[in-house]
């Protein structure tokens, strides 16, 4: 913990304020004009009104897309986290031939652009006869999120964790007991963090979803198509809902990480 007294450093405030304005002003404007009563989201602000939210929740197109996004996000994140956890466990606790190469291969997709991965998946799927569908998007999101989830979980398998597993064995625990009573509980915050990180990325992801979703678009794809027909506070309202969902997942993610750090400090 940092116990130094809080002291306002005006130079820092001067530098940081424009930065935060730059980052958060667009979001603030987006949220503000989602409550706009008029037809076009431009100043001056009229309202507040919840009319556009009513329209969003009334629109089958948007709610269906939202549901699609939730299904794709949850399922693809579960699969990515499960695979990542197994990969991390295998690489951290067992002697695997070519472990360094496998590790590198797992991290590699991080360096490739989403567009390239999306186009690659499109080509590969058409070659094996998988049409544009939510399943295709889901597979795409597993590909995108696996490296991130792996990085988060793999980081937990450090020397401290190995020591604790050793201590459990020393106290008489069988391998199953070590796994269930020590490894999994210690890994839980990391697994949760990996899942939530994957979920937020999948929830926001546009390029791969656009290329692969076909007739079952996810929410970002629908919002994008709404934008093509011109500015409309309904888009703001939809965007605000997307943002709030991401924010919620982000907060849970931070809390999970915070717990992990606190646990780490106690060792």
């Amino acid at each position: 913990m940092n116990d130094r007294p809080i002291r306002w450093d005006w130079v820092s405030v001067l530098v940081m304020s424009p930065l935060f304005v730059f980052i958060y002003l667009p979001v603030a404007v987006l949220v503000l004009f989602s409550f706009h009563a008029g037809q076009v989201p431009v100043p001056p602000f009229e309202g507040p009104s919840l009319a556009w939210y009513a329209k969003v929740l009334d629109s089958d197109r948007i709610t269906t897309a939202g549901l699609n996004s939730i299904v794709v996000g949850v399922v693809s994140s579960l699969i990515a986290t499960l695979l990542a956890t197994l990969a991390a466990w295998g690489l951290a606790r067992h002697r695997v031939p070519g472990a360094r190469a496998i590790e590198a291969l797992l991290f590699l997709p991080l360096a490739v652009s989403y567009l390239v991965i999306g186009v690659g998946l499109l080509v590969a799927f058409s070659a094996v006869g998988i049409g544009k569908s939510l399943i295709a998007v889901g597979i795409g999101h597993v590909v995108l999120n696996l490296p991130l989830a792996f990085a988060v979980v793999y980081g937990q398998f450090d020397r401290d964790q190995a020591r604790l597993e050793q201590a459990a064995r020393d106290l008489g625990a069988t391998e199953v007991q070590v796994f269930l009573r020590v490894t999994v509980p210690l890994l839980r915050p990391a697994i949760l963090a990996a899942f939530l990180l994957s979920l937020t990325f999948s929830w926001d992801e546009f390029i791969v979803a656009f290329l692969l979703s076909g007739f079952d678009p996810t929410l970002p794809v629908v919002i994008w198509s709404m934008l093509r027909t011109g500015l409309n506070p309904q888009t703001n309202a939809a965007g605000t809902l997307v943002f709030l969902a991401s924010l919620a997942a982000g907060i849970v993610f931070e809390l999970a990480l915070l717990r992990r750090r606190r646990d780490a400090r106690t060792r």
Binding site: L164, A168, G172, A173, D263, R267
Partner: protein, 353 residues
């Protein structure tokens, strides 16, 4: 669980590719002994402890606890428990669950776990802290929890890996006494690894001094300190002046050696004409002439006097440049003064190397 049992190490060896970390270490320890493995880093003491705990498999040799050969028994099935250097407490469990872990995984009934955990926490003076989180405990308290967690499983052999290294000096002293008290009360065999020679002398029944994977000296603290077997022991365990010389005569278990302090007589056997070393502890160096069987050592020029309460530490050198150390009663000795010195009877020890 098992009661206290004798421990026997038989030519225990650990080789890594090119390095031999532990090289044929053998010793016997009767049940209820406080053993301290002492040595500089790289001496193999931690590897020995790790082999006792089952975390490292020996390349050769055997470990016996009582009549049982545990050399290849996995850690979970050994009659040993370890207090780890960093304590390795489970951060996701509270104090009571940490201490009860070893009983819980062995399927001990809940009410019995509760009783034994309470008793163990009482033993280490933490009976009121059961439901606290580990993160709320101080370093010294964590050390006690780790001790309670290991002791509650009633191991025949308790292994302690530099357990006091992370504590400050006064807490370390206090814990030394407590470890000693708990070991005496329970009559278990403790094997404690440290590089701190004062700690070793304060708590051990038996000190095993290690160097480069081998036992350099082994014995009770008083014997190892007063009559070091080798030059390494003489210097590693406290301070010594080492006098080198040539054997002039040897008869009736006494050896006469010519040194820069003159001809000195020590107990032992050595071939005439060979080189020999003699250790002299600072406590055995006396300022003043030889009386009552003391052996005169010539004169010392005083270079520095440090007052240390009940005694005074004097360093100096003789006419041949030999560094000399003395611990004497406080007295006025100005630097630069030359004083006659002598060795107390029995204060000179013939070293093996």
């Amino acid at each position: 669980m098992r009661g206290p049992a004798d421990l026997k190490l038989d030519r225990l060896t650990k080789r890594y590719d090119a390095v031999t970390a532990v090289d044929g270490v053998s010793f016997d320890v009767p049940a209820g002994t406080y053993v301290v493995l002492l040595g500089p880093s790289g001496s193999g003491k931690t590897t020995v402890l790790s082999m006792l705990g089952g975390f490292t498999l020996p390349s050769a040799g055997r470990i016996l606890v009582g009549a049982e050969d545990i050399t290849l028994v996995p850690p979970a099935k050994r009659p040993t428990a370890t207090v780890f250097q960093d304590y390795a407490l489970f951060p996701h469990l509270d104090v009571v669950r940490n201490v009860g872990f070893g009983l819980s995984v062995r399927g001990v009934p809940k009410h019995e776990i509760a009783q034994r955990v309470t008793a163990a926490l009482k033993l280490v003076g933490l009976e009121d802290f059961g439901t606290r989180a580990i993160s709320a405990m101080s370093g010294g308290q964590r050390q006690r929890i780790a001790l309670a967690r290991a002791l509650v499983t009633e191991p025949a052999l308790l292994l302690l890996d530099e357990p006091l290294g992370a504590l400050d000096l006064s807490l370390r002293r206090q814990m030394q006494e407590e470890l000693r008290r708990i070991q005496r009360t329970q009559g278990r065999t403790f094997v404690h690894v440290t590089h701190d020679q004062e700690e070793a002398m304060a708590i051990a029944d038996l000190i095993v001094i290690m160097k480069q994977g081998r036992i350099e000296d082994i014995g009770p603290p008083s014997r190892v300190y007063e009559r070091p077997r080798t030059r390494f022991t003489a210097n590693f365990l406290g301070e010594s002046t080492v006098l080198q010389g040539t054997v002039a005569a040897c008869a009736d278990g006494r050896v006469a050696i010519d040194t820069v302090c003159g001809r000195l007589e020590v107990a032992g056997e050595r071939a005439v004409g060979s080189r020999a070393s003699i250790a002299l502890r600072p406590e055995a160096l006396r300022i003043g002439g030889g009386t009552d069987g003391d052996q005169p050592l010539g004169e010392m020029r005083v270079e520095d006097c440090i007052f240390q309460g009940s005694f005074q530490r004097i360093s100096g050198s003789n006419i041949h440049g030999l560094r000399l150390l003395a611990k004497v009663e406080p007295q006025a000795l100005p630097a630069g003064e030359c004083v006659p010195i002598s060795a107390r009877r029995g204060g000179l020890v013939l070293l093996e190397d």
